[in-house]
Amino acid sequence: MQENNISAGNLEQCLKCNLCTLVCPMMAVNAHYPGPKKAGPDGERYRLKDPQYYDYALKYCLNCKRCEVACPSGVMVGDIIQAARLRYAGHNLRDWALANTDLVGSLASPFAPVVNGVLGLKPVKSLMHAFMGVDSHRTFPSYSARRFTSWMRRQDQGGFDKFVSFFHGCYVNYNYPQLGKDLVRLVNAAGYGVHLLEKEKCCGVALMSNSMGAQARRQGEINLASMRKAIAAGEDILTVSSTCTFTMRDEYPHVLALENAEVRPHLMLLSKWLYQKMESGEVSLRFRRDLHLKIAYHTSCHMQKLGWRNFTLELLRKIPGVELVEMDQQCCGIAGTFGFKKENYAYSQAIGGRLFDEIGAARVALGAQSDPGFVVCTECETCKWQIEMSTGVPVMNPVSILAMALE
């Protein structure tokens, strides 16, 4: 490695080998996208010279980081693109509304039954398609009438002498509190109590994808301050979403310049925490023998980048009645808010096509053609929406599967 490399995102190390271009899922379906090499390290040289070289086609980047996984030279291709979008791109009202998951969630959840009903209506979808640019094929994940945090505050966690903090994320809080409850059940069964962080904001991934860097940084600072307090009290911080986890561990320092070195080692998905506790012998969990599930495991993009899928797979293998197929690692195409935008819908589905075929093949391999016990398992909530919408197969977070398997 060159010793005095001062380029952001390691851009000087790019040898132009184009392996990133070859693995880019967007490149395969969209001729308007210049590809990761050109959008990332190549384009950055021009942008450094003069910002007018910013290419608005960078909006097509999914931020899947597959370019970084493939790069033999350690260039942070995806980070360079993400940082350029934060610096140069703008956003419209639709992007603002899609990105503000916290604000929209807290406005929507008190009126959940009404909001869910209205958002599902065909005329409303058509209007949103025409005037807001939200694709009419998409259905927003339904809002929960009761937030996870209000449930959690009523749980008695006093009977424990060891604790973890739980970063629940927007999806658990506003849309799917059951996933958070499942985590609490598992962690309690492992002998630990669960605390909420003093303050929690959206991790900011949707803000970053929609070029709202200043707000993402403010939220990141709030999250990190709360996490430092929890760590000082001896607690690890557990998560259920691969994207929130990846954002706060790696994009905070790389893209938002938020220093998180002392938080990073303590911030992890439940599956890593639980695997390591069980392997060290500190925790032992007993799983039911009568839970029969046929699982096709999908590695979300950020899970691939984290490199932690084996923690999840090893835990799932400990459940006696589980049959497991590891699917190849490929993008489902939705990429968070990207797939909700009407101009992206066709790309999104074209990218996901290979994965949807593979889910069908996994179903056959497991002999589960007409089996209600067939599920896709993944750590990413937006993959869940995409796969459920596109294939009809139910998708479960491994945390929910493990909680279901508890004796």
Binding site: L19, P72, Q276
Partner: protein, 189 residues
């Protein structure tokens, strides 16, 4: 995490090694920062994918960064992504290639192997690495990791009992272990 064997490097040599270990029904982990490229192959992960389909645990896009050795043997390695989860095995294969794949790194004076600090056969001083004549044999191409007569990697002049090198990373004159020998050594642990 514990495996029977860990192959470090997912290029051609690493995938071949993985295939042989899978043939012998070992539980194999393949740490693959590299992609294999073949003619008319638009799927650069194809070889890695084939290994995963045969049952290897493939750490795609990950890179070994350090190793723990004790009494002349490798106990475990750590990777960028699994920095607090040692990967343990009885057998280790080093197949990280030469310069492009970062199996060997250099500064102005030295060429070194970054994961184990294995002995490298080279001439110190950058001016000795190249021949001015472009078409002459280039010395840097013959540099690489040193092994003993059985193909085991040398560190500080001593053979490491369970670490073998294969593929491009080997020095031109270094012996490469044959697979019967490796499996024999493995059976005797």
């Amino acid at each position: 995490m514990r495996f029977d064997a860990i192959v470090i490097g997912g290029g051609q040599a690493g995938c071949e090694a993985t295939a042989r270990l899978l043939d012998a029904s070992l539980k194999v982990c393949l740490i693959s920062a590299g992609l294999t490229m073949e003619d008319e192959n638009t799927d650069p992960w194809r070889e890695n994918r084939a290994m995963a389909q045969r049952g290897a645990t493939v750490l795609r896009g990950d890179r070994a960064v350090s190793a723990v050795l004790e009494a002349g043997k490798v106990l475990s390695v750590r990777t960028v992504n699994l920095d607090d989860e040692p990967l343990e095995a009885a057998l280790f294969i080093l197949a990280t290639g030469k310069y492009f794949s970062r199996g060997l790194l250099s500064d102005m004076e030295h060429i070194y192997e970054p994961v184990f600090g294995a002995d490298v056969d080279y001439i110190p001083g950058r001016s000795h690495w190249y021949d001015q004549d472009f078409s002459a044999p280039q010395p840097f191409l013959s540099f690489g990791v040193k092994t003993d007569e059985r193909g085991r990697v040398l560190i500080g002049g001593k053979s490491i009992g369970n670490l073998y090198a294969t593929g491009d990373i080997l020095a031109r004159d270094a012996a490469e272990a044959d697979w019967a020998q490796i499996m024999n050594d493995y059976a005797g642990k």
